[in-house]
Symmetry: C2
Subunit: 338 residues, 2 copies
């Protein structure tokens, strides 16, 4: 290879919101794939909120990135060299090679993509981990019945747009919450029954007006003040799939008291609520095939809409990532690497 | 009837822990059963923590007792007059006639008891609402697998003893938490694998030692400092049926800050926890028959043990009830009325 690799590594652990200085961009040799492995040139890097957790060494469901280590992440790329008979150079694959221009992976750990079925980038969004998070959380935990009300925040992101549109497929009413008028207009455009701006001063009142029959499913990926407005609107037997709490990822201390934990527990008891945390991987073995079989045709025929926010150049990944944690992206955030 | 009725009514709503002054004991006429109704002389009145909720007008899953109204409660009694062909005088029935010596009920709302199957008092405890709460919560929500660890607090009460013994039937390890050495000794006697006194100064350390593989099911009926010790021990995919929070029922203000709600939500996310509130009535139609068919023989052959704490005299119900909220009862609390 005459090209050179570029990597983004974790320079230091952030306290609160990450800053550019928490990352280092360094040249590196292009790796050599071992037997049974492939070398992949990254085309697109996915940026996702869970990566904030990997930057921290607080207990989590997955080990942290070591300081000095390569930032992890899902990628779509082209195989440029293969030491496995099952994968050919030129094939486009979904892999988990992280924030770098070139990476290697075991051939068995990549998924071949067929661009005639759907654009390759969708494997990182609507037909990838975020879309499957929506599908698994809604079909396995939220289980909306026809006529019920489903509320989702960060609704213009790749999980939220899918949650809302799937809720409609299942016959439920979809209420989306997002930040700013453009995002809210987009939610209405793609079929949400109601869309609200959580930055509005009367947001809680708007939410009450948009959920006249209360809330049966709250798909929780945000937390914070959106949760406080949702909480009193939950109906008896409401279900809360919890897949993210992005409003809290960069908090450095707990909010002031009093301690309201007992209020939450009392509501869980009083209203027979189901609160269930999940990581999509729990359901992948059982459900990923079903999800792709159902959702790929929807993407192809345009009935399942999605939006991508593509940033050019790997070197811009840190800034784009920080912006995402602040709600600045509009749609699935991707970095076009090559 | 030459006898007179005696009723205990709600004199005023308590702030915090109820006091004797919140109740009035008054004579009343023996009621006359309408067509299709029966007149029942109360033998035993059940005292249960949920009654604290009925004394309050805070939002709940059931309407409150009005000030001046009769205190509600489950009873076992003898039918002394019947205006329904399906029920005969002399039959012993389970009813919901409240804190009084005589009450009427629709014949269709009473359950006939067969004292040859099990003592009638068990219909208020191990074979009644508390036992069924344990059965429904454990089999429908907790779902322990063989070898998993189930923890229950208030473990010498009628829900807790049943939870622990059912956990053993299901092949799980049962860890019980109670207040004081006698209760702890009793839990060991009836087969809990470990039993702990939550009043011990090193309770959290003892709990850690008793749950070396963490906690897979925490049957929550208490809250408070027991919950704080349990919380960090919960395993990934742990389940928490929540059927009571007796430590919080008499709180008049929230604990001091910081607000730890986000810690709970983060753990739910990080550990893929299931937290599910329930009232046993949700499951009664589907499961009560199965429960009675399974558990009655266990009670009869002595394999499902239970303990009753019987107080004599309806006039002593308020003091006994207040004592129960303070953990003074030892086993299912009943008042022998006649």
């Amino acid at each position: 290879m005459t090209d050179e690799n570029v990597q983004i590594r974790l320079a230091s652990r952030p306290a609160g919101m990450p800053a550019a200085g928490n990352f280092t961009i360094t040249p590196a040799p292009v790796p050599v794939p071992r037997d049974g492995h492939v070398l992949i040139r990254t085309q697109y890097l996915s940026l996702d909120p869970y990566m904030r957790g990997r930057m921290s060494d607080a207990p989590s469901y997955a080990p942290p990135v070591e300081v000095g280590g390569l930032m992890v992440g899902g990628t779509v790329g082209e195989v440029v060299e293969s030491n496995d008979p099952g994968v050919q150079p030129g094939e486009v694959v979904l892999a988990y090679t992280g924030w770098q221009k070139y990476g290697t992976a075991p051939a068995g750990a990549v998924r071949k993509l067929d661009p005639s079925q759907a654009p390759a980038t969708t494997a990182l969004g609507v037909l990838g981990m975020p879309g499957f998070t929506a599908y698994a959380g809604l079909t396995q935990i939220g289980r909306p019945k026809p006529g019920e009300t489903v509320v989702v925040a960060a609704a213009s992101g790749p999980v939220g747009t899918t949650v809302g549109q799937l809720a409609k497929v299942l016959g439920a009413r979809a209420v989306g919450i997002a930040g700013g008028p453009e995002k809210v207009a987009y939610l209405r455009e793609i079929g949400f029954d109601a869309a609200l701006d959580h930055r509005a001063s009367d947001f809680a009142r708007q939410l009450a007006a948009a959920t006249p029959d209360g809330i049966d499913v709250y798909f929780e990926n945000v937390g914070g003040h959106v949760w406080h407005a949702v909480f009193p609107r939950l109906n008896t037997f409401a279900r809360m799939p919890v897949c993210g709490l992005v409003a809290h990822y960069c908090e450095t201390e707990l909010p002031e008291g009093p301690d309201r934990t007992a209020l939450l527990m009392s509501a869980i008891l009083r209203k027979s609520l189901t609160v269930r945390g999940f990581i999509q991987s729990e359901f992948a073995a059982a459900l990923m095939g079903e999800f792709l079989a159902r959702a790929t045709p929807w993407v192809r025929d345009g009935s399942l809409k999605y939006r991508e926010d593509i940033v050019d150049g790997l070197e811009n990944a840190p800034e784009a990532f920080i912006g995402m944690l602040q709600g600045k992206n509009f749609g699935k955030l991707l970095v076009r690497v090559s």
